[in-house]
Every structure is written in structure tokens, then in C-alpha cells.
């Protein structure tokens, strides 16, 4: 078992735990409390890289599918995945690796470059969440498009913008630490 | 016999974490490595079983470089880390203790036998199905000790095992350590808190800024420890034998 392999497994498990734990936690950010799940989904890809992001989210979904209460609001089970909001869960699986692919600055990148990439990654990741989510919602509740957008997109835009911005700031600030953790393993 | 020869390591910025450290730990010895925070004690420990690769110098087990057979070295040298919470991998006390043995691919029956033996030896049998993170500090510490002992190591390295423990916790852990020493294990105890354990050691190593500044018998060194940033246990006329928290 190489050091690298252990470190990727551990880091992916840590992100899974962060994502799952955040479902229990509402944070009074602005006037309304929000759940931070999407922020940690984006961060798992941006800080850990595409591979770790994907496996962290996949493990999270598996925990939920076998019935552990890790989905938003403390629910779980395969029902949630095939239910009306299941599309968003599939979106998680795409958003994390995508954000990780976009935000992958080298150790010598300039700060401006990092910031631009991070903002881009957070926005693209944030939008990706909705791509499978909205049609799925529309289909499963037989809504029309305006109703689906009204129910599944518009109320979440302000909160998601805040979370994306925070994810970008955190990713810029902490990327070096996380990269060191993974590259240090390669040297030994 | 475990030996460290001319071990050095530095950060990229040039600061030395370890500077030409040479030490040897004979079989059955009980060594305390003391030093203030940042003196390189923990980094030294991470070299002992090859978690960090020696860039300069080497670590020898019975005369052979540990990197020749890391697997065997890690089985024979058990490391108990400072933070008990972050070395627990199992979801119950029993499954956490079994983890090391499972990795050695022992058959299930042998694992279970050894597990029972350890649970009785450390008197933690009643905790076997508990979640490790809900245990008290002392119980948690004994659980991680058992997790290392299941691999049957000859040398046991403990990093600050008394941090955050209450009186009962300290004396329970200390009891286990002294018993293991009596059973012939080599003990290396890393601490800056001499009062709780110095009475049991047969050798004291003082470290500062990555260097071994003094080593020898505890009785010879006790008067000098304050020069190197370590607190001398209270009382000038105090006997070495009283420097323990173990109830007599």
C-alpha cells in the first residue's frame, strides 16, 4: 500500500464526511439559514482534485442510498435518489470533478490566475448542479418549465451565489496546503 | 536493538528539524525523550518506522536499514500517536483494535483470540462494542495502545500519551506502560512532562532545536533539564523515585 494511495483514500473519506456532516447543519449566513452541502461538494473537487472529488461524492451517495440519513434534512434511501430531487444528487456527482478539472493551478501560478480559475470553477460547478436537477424535477412532478424553475432554481440562486463565492475564496487560500499533503506523499 | 545514525532533516527554507541525531535503544530499555515544543521529537518518531524517509543518515533495526523491509519494521515498532482521536479507524473498539491484525492478513480466529487476550490484559473488555470516540480520555488512550499491541511489537513508541488525561487516566496508562516494560518490551516515551513518569525510565534524552543536547541516566541529568526548557519536577530535594503518578 503506497503512501499516496492511503492519503487519497483518507482525503476522499474526509470530504465525504464533511459533505455528509453539513447536511445536519444549518448556518445562519445572511437573513436565512442555509445548508452548506453544495459548498463542500465544490470544495472536494477544487481542493482534492477531480478524482478525489468524484470518489468523495460517490461515497456520499452510496451512504445515502443504503439508507443512512445523510441527505439534506436528515433523510436517506434510494427513494431520495429516484424521487423528485434526485436529479440534484446526480448533479453533485458531475459538479465536484468538473470544478476540480477547472481549478487546478500549478504551485507557481500567479494569484490573479488562481482567483479567476477558482471563480470560474465555482460558477461552472454551481450551474452543473442544476443541469440534471431541473428537468428531473419537472419530469417527476409533471410540472411545466416555469413551475419547475420556480420550485427548483429561483429560490436557491442567492444562497448558491454566496456559497460559490465562499468556495472560491477558500479554494484560493487553502489549495497549497492540500496540494502539499498529496505531493509530499509522492516524494517519500 | 533500534539505532538512529546521523539523522538530519531540514525544511526547504533551511531551518533544521533534525540535526545529526544519533541514538540507540537497546532491547528492554525504557527511554524518555524530553524537549520543549518544536524540538523535533515528533519528527524523530515519524522516522523511526519509515513514515518519513531519512534524507541524511539512517535508522537501523538489528543492524539493518528499516527501509529494506518496511512492513516488518512497522510490525515490530509500534507507534502510538499524540492525538488519540485521529488514529482511530474502526467504528467499535474491537474493530479498531483488530485493524492492524487484519492488515497482517491473519485468519479471523487468530485475530479474535489475540483480541480477547488484549481486552483482558488492558481490562477494557467492557468497552468492546462502544464507539471509540465516545470513550473517556484514558479509555481512548488504552484503546489506541491495544490497537498497536495487537501486532505484537517489540518496541513501543508513545508520543505525549498523558496529554489531556485526568489523574485516573494517567495512572491507568502508566500502569500499562510499566507492565509492558516489565514484560520485556522496549519503551520509548516522548514527553515534556517528566513529573508523571521519570521514575520508571532508565535513560533520559534531552532534545532542543532538532539536536540531542544531553543523554544519560535520569539521576545525572535531572539537575540540568531546566537549562533546556523542560520543567524540573517540583521540589529541590525530591527523589527520582517520586517522579511518577502511579499509585504505589
Amino acid at each position: 500500500m503506497t503512501k499516496m494511495r492511503i492519503r487519497t483514500t483518507v482525503l476522499s473519506a474526509v470530504f465525504t464526511a464533511l459533505i455528509a456532516a453539513s447536511a445536519f447543519f444549518t448556518i445562519p449566513v445572511g437573513p436565512i439559514p442555509i445548508v452548506l452541502t453544495t459548498m463542500f461538494i465544490l470544495l472536494s473537487g477544487m481542493l482534492g482534485g477531480a478524482k478525489i472529488g468524484f470518489s468523495a461524492v460517490a461515497t456520499y451517495l452510496i451512504l445515502g442510498i443504503i439508507g443512512l440519513p445523510v441527505f439534506a434534512g436528515g433523510t436517506g434511501g434510494i427513494a431520495k435518489l429516484i424521487g423528485p430531487t434526485g436529479g440534484f444528487l446526480v448533479g453533485y456527482l458531475l459538479a465536484a470533478p468538473l470544478a476540480g478539472l477547472i481549478y487546478n493551478p500549478g504551485p507557481d501560478s500567479s494569484r490573479t490566475r488562481k482567483i479567476i480559475l477558482a471563480v470560474l470553477a465555482a460558477l461552472v460547478g454551481g450551474i452543473t448542479l442544476y443541469i440534471p436537477g431541473i428537468p428531473w424535477l419537472k419530469q417527476s412532478l409533471s410540472m411545466d418549465w416555469p413551475a419547475a424553475l420556480q420550485a427548483g432554481l429561483i429560490p436557491f440562486i442567492p444562497g448558491d451565489l454566496i456559497k460559490c463565492a465562499a468556495a472560491a475564496v477558500l479554494a484560493v487560500g487553502l489549495k497549497d496546503r492540500f496540494r502539499d499533503f498529496l505531493t509530499e506523499a509522492e516524494e517519500e | 536493538m533500534l539505532e538512529v545514525k546521523n539523522l538530519s532533516r531540514s525544511y526547504e527554507k533551511g531551518r533544521m528539524v533534525l540535526n545529526n541525531v544519533s541514538l540507540s535503544f537497546p532491547e528492554g530499555s525504557f527511554t524518555i525523550i524530553a524537549g520543549p515544543n518544536g524540538s523535533g521529537k515528533t519528527q524523530l518518531m515519524r522516522h523511526l518506522n519509515g513514515l518519513l524517509k531519512a534524507r541524511e543518515g539512517e535508522v537501523l533495526l538489528d543492524g539493518r536499514n528499516i527501509r529494506e523491509d518496511l512492513q516488518a519494521a512497522r510490525r515490530r515498532i509500534g507507534l502510538v500517536f499524540q492525538n488519540a482521536d485521529s488514529q482511530i479507524v474502526g467504528q467499535t473498539v474491537a474493530s479498531d483494535i483488530a485493524f492492524g491484525a487484519e492488515n497482517l492478513k491473519w485468519p479471523r480466529q487468530k485475530i479474535n483470540e489475540k483480541l480477547e487476550e488484549l481486552l483482558t490484559e488492558l481490562s477494557i473488555g467492557h468497552l468492546r462494542n462502544r464507539r471509540p470516540h465516545t470513550l473517556s480520555g484514558g479509555e481512548k488512550r488504552r484503546c489506541v495502545l491495544a490497537a498497536v499491541l495487537i501486532m505484537n511489537p517489540e518496541i513501543i513508541v508513545l508520543d505525549e500519551p498523558f496529554t489531556g488525561l485526568d489523574y485516573q487516566g494517567v495512572s491507568d496508562v502508566l500502569k500499562d506502560i510499566t507492565r509492558l516494560h516489565k514484560d520485556g518490551k522496549t519503551i520509548i516515551l516522548i514527553t515534556h512532562d517528566l513529573e508523571k513518569s521519570l521514575a520508571h525510565a532508565d535513560r533520559l534524552v534531552l532534545m532542543k532545536d532538532g539536536e540531542v543536547v544531553k543523554e544519560g541516566e535520569p539521576a545525572d541529568l535531572i539537575e540540568d533539564v531546566e537549562d533546556f526548557g523542560i520543567r524540573r519536577p517540583w521540589g529541590n530535594e525530591r527523589d527520582l523515585e517520586t517522579m511518577t503518578w502511579l499509585k504505589v
Binding site: 500500500m1 492511503i6 492519503r7 483518507v10 473519506a13 474526509v14 464526511a17 455528509a20 456532516a21 447536511a23 445536519f24 447543519f25 448556518i27 445562519p28 449566513v29 445572511g30 459548498m39 470544495l43 461515497t59 442510498i65 443504503i66 443512512l68 440519513p69 436528515g74 436517506g76 434510494i78 427513494a79 429516484i82 423528485p84 419530469q139 417527476s140 412532478l141 409533471s142 410540472m143 420550485a151 454566496i162 477558500l170 487560500g173 487553502l174 496546503r177 | 515519524r46 518506522n49 500517536f81 492525538n83 482521536d85 485521529s86 488514529q87 482511530i88 479507524v89 467504528q91 485493524f99 491484525a101 487484519e102 492488515n103 497482517l104 492478513k105 485468519p107 479471523r108 470516540h133 501486532m151
Partner: protein
Amino acid sequence: MAEGLIFQYTPGESILHRIDIRIKLIGMIALSLVLIKVSPFRLCFLLPVLLSLDICSRNDRRISLPPPILFLMPLIIFAGNFISLGPWETGGFKPALAAAGFRALRFICILWMAQLFTETSDPMSITPAFYRLLKPIPLIPAGRISTSMGLSLTLIPLIISEMGEIRDAMVSRCGWNPRRPVRNLTSMGIPLLEGVLTRAEALSDAMESRLFTEDATEPELLDDSLRTSPSLFLLLLLTALFMGERLLLNIDILESFMNFY
């Protein structure tokens, strides 16, 4: 601690407790798939089954109502469906009411199953069971997935309490400013992620020292768990369901497999 934890394991000796977790998992997934289609027949068929399983699972053989919050979601789904389906689309008030009602009922069924499963399955044996389930499937890294699952299960309660501590520390330093939400999040995220990384470092060191390998001795399963009769029961149940549908409603079996929504 975990405010949202509705479902929790309660130890017991009932039949459901003793069924092999793998069969419970497969059963739950199979029944969820059956319920993808909103069919009155299927709902009427499964509700009594769930009720009897529920009675079996209770140690004191008494029917106790699930927590009231469980009724909140179905209610929302009912209302949402009723409004969006609308009497104007389904051609009348009654059909719309029925359609929305069945959807809500399906949701209750699914929640009920999840509750029965978590209530009777020890979370500590879920991971080993899952490993055994995945292992025969080619191309799936069963060892890595179950290691990763087990580790995250160990870490979740730790991280929840860490999040709580950080939040409390920020509140005590008057750190929350409702007008600067992004700053609130980042100043909470930095200590959390730094802490998590330190934990990851320590954990990888400990695992490496304890010789972590993916092909370790296989985890243990309870030997006295029931296997044969529950799988037969599940098989019979599904056959009866599809046969009944065919005979009563004249739906082709193949078609009923394909029929989603």
C-alpha cells in the same frame, strides 16, 4: 448532536433485526424500484406488507406512530402535486386528488422502508455487508469503497461536533455579521478545513503505521443471521406482485418493468 437524525438504530432481536443486511439492502432497493411507477395496485399490495414487517420489528409488538415530521414531506408533495397537476389537467377535482394522494402515499412507503431498514440494521455491520455484496461484481473496487465508507462513518460525528465548536467560537467572538455572508462562511471554513487536513495527515500516518492494506482479512458477518427464508420471501413477494398485476390489470410483465412514471 445531529439535529436531523430521525432514523436511528435500535438494538433488538426481532426477525427484521436478524435478517442478513445484504438481503435487506437488496429488498429495499428492489421495492424502491417497484415503486418508481405510481400504481394504486402496487401501493395497495405493499402497504400491508410494510405494516406487518413494522409490527414484526417492534420488540413490544405495539404499533407506534412514526415521528410527525415524517408526515410533513408527504403533505408537501401532496399539495405540490395537487396544485401542479390541477383539476384542469386531469379533468376533474377527484382524479387530481387521487393522483396527488397516491404520490404522497408512495413517498410514505419509501420513507417507511428506509426507517425499517435503519432501525433494524446496526450501522457498524453495514460496511462489511456492503463489501461482501460488492466483492463478486467485477471492475468495482469493493475494498476501496468500503474502506472509504467506513472511514467517513467514523469521521462524520467528529466533524459534526467540530463544526459546532467552530460555530460557537465564532459566535462568542461576535463573528457573525448578517451583512457579510461570504466572510462568515470563509472564516468558518478556514479553521474547519485546516483542522480536517491535520486530521487527515494524522490518520494517514496511523493507517500507514498499522500497515493498512486493501486486501486485509475480510470483515466478519454475524453467522446466525437469516438468509434463505427472507430471500425466498422477497422472491415470492415480487412474483406475486407481478403476477397479480398481470392477472388483475392485464399488464404485460415486461411492460410493467419498463413502465416508469
